[in-house]
Every structure is written in C-alpha cells, then in structure tokens.
Symmetry: C2
Subunit: 319 residues, 2 copies
C-alpha cells in the first residue's frame, strides 16, 4: 500500500513520534517508497549532531546514553537515540533488553528511541543505520546518539557514521587491551571511563592515556582526545562529557573537519548503495538470458570468464 | 616483468610442472597478465572432470585424496590436486602440513599438487579456485581433485566448483550431525565413510542413509547418492569410490546435468568478476572527483544518497 510520504515527513517534522517510527521502518525495510522518502528527507537533513557511543559489554553504554539524553534534554535539545544491535534479528520501536534503563525518556516527546537490528540486513550496518539517522535528523533532532550493542568491526563501522565518536571503558576489565584489539583506540574523539567510583578507575585512565600517546607532543591545533571519568548511573561527570563533545564539535567546525567527515560519510554511503544496485542489475541478467549465453560460451571454451565479465560490464555500462 | 604467456601455456600443455605452477601463481596473484592467461587457457579447458572433497577435520581427507590419486594414476589418468585452505595465509607449490602424506606423488610427472590459501584473497575462494582449476584443466589433467581443509561455508562454496562432490565422514565423530550443521548433507553426490575398520562405521553409514532419506522412494532416473566405506590409508574401497564417481559422471552426461552444472558455475564466476570490476570502477571515481561532488551535495542536503547512487550508476552505465 502506498504511503503518503510528504504527509508523513510533515508529521515527523512536527514531532509526531509515530510518524518518525513509520519513516524509520520504511527506510529500514527497503520499502518500494524508499527513494521517495530519502528524497523528501534530504533538504531537511544536516542539522543533527551525530554522536557514536561504543565500548565493550558491561561498561555501561545504555546508562551513559540515558544520562547523556538527560543532559541534552535539560539544555532543551531534541534527542534521537539509535540503539544498533548487529547480532539481533529483532528490530523496531520497542525497548529491548537493557534499553529498559532508558524508559525514563520513553514518554518525553523531545526524545526518540529506536532499536535497530542489523543481522541479516542487506548491506548490514553500513546500509541501514545512515538512513535511520537521516530520519531522526529530518525530524528535528538536534543530537542523534548512536549506541552499538556488542563489539568488534561493527562498532568501528558505526563510529564511521558519527560526527564525534565516544569510546567507553570501565575499570578492571582489561579494557585497554580489549579496546586495542577491537581497534576502537583509533576511533575515539572522546574517551569516557565510566564506573569511576570503582577501584582502578585512575589506573584505567592512566593506561588509556599511555596507550593513546596523550603524553606525547602534538602539532598545535591537533585534537587531543580528552579522557572523562563518569559515574553515569548517578549522572556524575556527564556534563563534562557534553562539554567535551561540544569542544570537539567546535574544533571540527573551525577547521572544516566536520564538513569533511560528512562528505566522506556520504561518499561511502553512495558507494554502498551503487554497488548493491549494480549487483542487482547483474542478477537481473539471469532473466534475459544474457548471462546464460555467456556462461554457455565459457563452458564450451570459446570465451574466458574475464572476457565474459568485460562483455557483461560493457552491456551494463555501454563502455 | 612481462611473462611469455603463450610459451608458458605451451610448456604447461607439454606437462612441465614449473610452467603449471607459474600459471597458477599468475592467476592467483591477479597479475596484470591475468586476462591474457585466461584467454590463452580458455580453448584448452573443459576436459577435466572436477571432483570436490569435503568433510570435517580428522575424517582423512588428505589420505583419501592421495588414495584417489593412486587409483587414477593406475588407470593412466593425469591428475591435478588443489588443496584449498581458507584459513591459511600461505599459498604456493609446497606441501603444507598433512599434505606431506601426498608426498608419494610429488615426483610423479602425471600429478600436479598445489596448495592454495584463500584468506585475505580478493573475493576469496569464489575468485581464486576456479582460475586454478582452469590452469590444471588446460595443462591436460583428466581429473582435478579439489580438497578443502577446514569446515563450513567455504566447503559448500568449493563444492559448487566441482562436477561431482564427495562428502567424507568417519565413524564415532557425531559426523552426521556435524555434516547437517555444516550444510554438506545437501551437497554430496557421493558419500564416503572412511576409517571403516573402526567401530561404528556401519552405524555412521546407517545414520547417513537415514538422514539422506536414501530409503525413501525416488523418481526413476533421480541420482541416489551412494555411500561407500573405505580405509583410505590401506587403499581399501578406493576403487569403489572411483567407480561411484564414474557412475555419477555418466549419469550427469546422459541427462545433460554436467553441462548444466558447468554453465551455472561459469555464470557465478562471471558475476563475481563483473561485480569486482564494477566496484573497482566506483573506487576509481574518487580519483576524478565525481563521487566527491555527489558527496558534497548530499552533505549539504541538496541530494539524497539514493539519487546520488542513481547518478553514479548512470555515469558508469549510461543508463
């Protein structure tokens, strides 16, 4: 059934949570109207500041996200939360698992919370998350917090979607080494040592300081990732995190880094969509028997597979 | 340095093992002369009968492969062996690990043995193995045995390269369940219960018979995968395996199934090469700044990523 896309977008702009949820479902599910939705959203995007939150399980990502939401709400900002779980097949507007800690914001009309599963998704994270971020952006969110559940490559991938990446650690988890393994030491713009009321918080911060080479000299103007200690469950240190985020944003804006990051992100996004589209077109060739004819010639030895691929690509591209 | 491809191909046809090894290295390494090599090989291919051997570690794959080589050599056939290890970064002509059991054939000029690592390979198995099979085919091998080390998806992938797939099991390893999990119960044309002198061989064969539904009625003319018991280390039952392979080949030829499988394989191969080529072209667009210009427009909200991808694809395809 065709959806009234302009109407839905207008409702989303007016802050109707159901319209926002509906739009995310449309882009997430690769609906036939996906292109119409994306075209309608484009002129409304580019305002939201996208913050990625990553870290090993147990460091308190959901609690930290929730605390950040509170801090931004106090400052009157509209906030979107995208909780991405690359291992889960469940998706939708419901609060899943420990996302229940965020339920204090569930009735706040200035907050959108969305869980997104990416397992089995066409193109995975790289494909689904940016579209959902665009919806939240267009819906008037000043800040979009993208929190990943789980660890590994997908976290690094999500970080590449953010304007600013926050890497969370907690004391006594051998986090430094874990973080190094997961490759997240390279992606943090701001580091947070959560659960700082526990033993070993200072040691974790020191270890991190050392691993990041923060003691070493930097070129003037280079960004030096701050390390902020928090007790997110009690809201301690959260204002300092917001402050660090604002500083990073200002630093990026001054130097054109923000615009550069967003261009790079858009380029990757376009590449992913284009490759997917071309792959589909090749798949369609099965239908008109062109691929079958080439395969026949290869099997009979009158054509090699590279020459056949050239013909196939030429047929698609006219080059 | 440019290689004398026609000369190398001629030497390979005359049975020079170094020429064969050199050609495989060229196709494996995506040399600039890859296309020239593939074009020169094409008219010489299509003669080799490609047999895939898969099974969990410990079932005796290398021993079985070696025993099959002996059996085919006795019948005067030239044999190529491609041992594919998806987890290994090492590749080349050397005998690796337990491939030493095949060393009895190392000095036989009628046998080519090649280890192939695919980890980190562009396109992985799907890309590298078919090209190496083509070299062995063109070099005059009557039979090419493709043995995979390791388990899982890659085995199923390799099986899709073969004319006939042999699935190996051994008693007392809970193989039935393992096989089911790995999805290899769907791919076997011939099943071998190796180490049949051990306890439980009959039980494994019965379990397999049950899981494959071999007791059930089939349409006349349908292929009923045989289950052969072997003790490969002593050469017992190996002639029966060869017999089963020949029967399957004859069955496929009678019904046009062999030609059909080879066409499907060629189609998949062409698709993989074409998608890789298109992906590279998109990557090249970074150079001429077309992608950057699109990214700029997306970042500024004047274009959405889907419309941008359409422009990109249109630029490539003229459609």
């Amino acid at each position: 059934m065709a959806v009234d896309v302009p109407g839905l977008v207008e409702q989303a702009r007016q802050g109707r949570p159901r319209a926002v949820a509906r739009l995310i479902s449309l882009v997430e599910g690769a609906s036939p109207q996906l292109r119409e939705v994306m075209a309608a959203l484009a002129p409304l995007t580019g305002n939201a500041y996208v913050v990625g939150l990553t870290g090993s399980p147990g460091v308190g990502k959901s609690t930290s996200t929730s605390a950040l939401v509170s801090a931004y709400r106090k400052a009157g900002r509209r906030v979107g939360v995208l909780a991405v779980d690359p291992s889960s097949p469940f998706s939708g507007g419901a609060l899943l698992g420990d996302r229940v800690r965020m339920s204090e914001h569930a009735s706040d009309p200035g907050v959108y919370i969305r869980s997104m599963a990416t397992r089995g998704h066409l193109g995975g994270l790289a494909w689904a998350a940016p579209q959902a971020i665009r919806v939240l952006d267009a819906a008037g969110c000043d800040v979009v917090l993208v929190e990943t559940v789980g660890v590994g490559q997908s976290e690094v991938e999500i970080a590449s979607q953010a304007d600013t990446s926050v890497v969370l650690l907690a004391p006594g988890m051998g986090d430094g080494i874990q973080a190094a393994k997961a490759g997240i030491l390279e992606i943090g713009d701001v580091y947070v040592v959560n659960k700082a009321d526990r033993d070993g918080a200072d040691a974790t911060a020191r270890e991190l300081n050392h691993m990041l080479g923060l003691g070493e000299a930097r070129k003037p103007g280079d960004w030096r990732p701050p390390i902020v200690k928090t007790v997110a469950a009690r809201g301690e240190g959260v204002d300092e995190v917001v402050e660090a985020l604002e500083k990073h944003r200002a630093w990026m804006e001054e130097r054109g880094v923000l615009a550069e990051r967003r261009r790079a992100r858009a380029a990757r996004e376009v590449e992913t969509i284009a490759v997917t589209a071309l792959r589909e077109r090749i798949g369609d060739l099965h239908g008109d028997r062109r691929l079958d004819a080439l395969a026949e010639r290869i099997a009979s030895g009158t054509l090699d597979p590279y020459a056949a691929a050239d013909e196939l690509v030429a047929g698609l591209t006219g080059k």
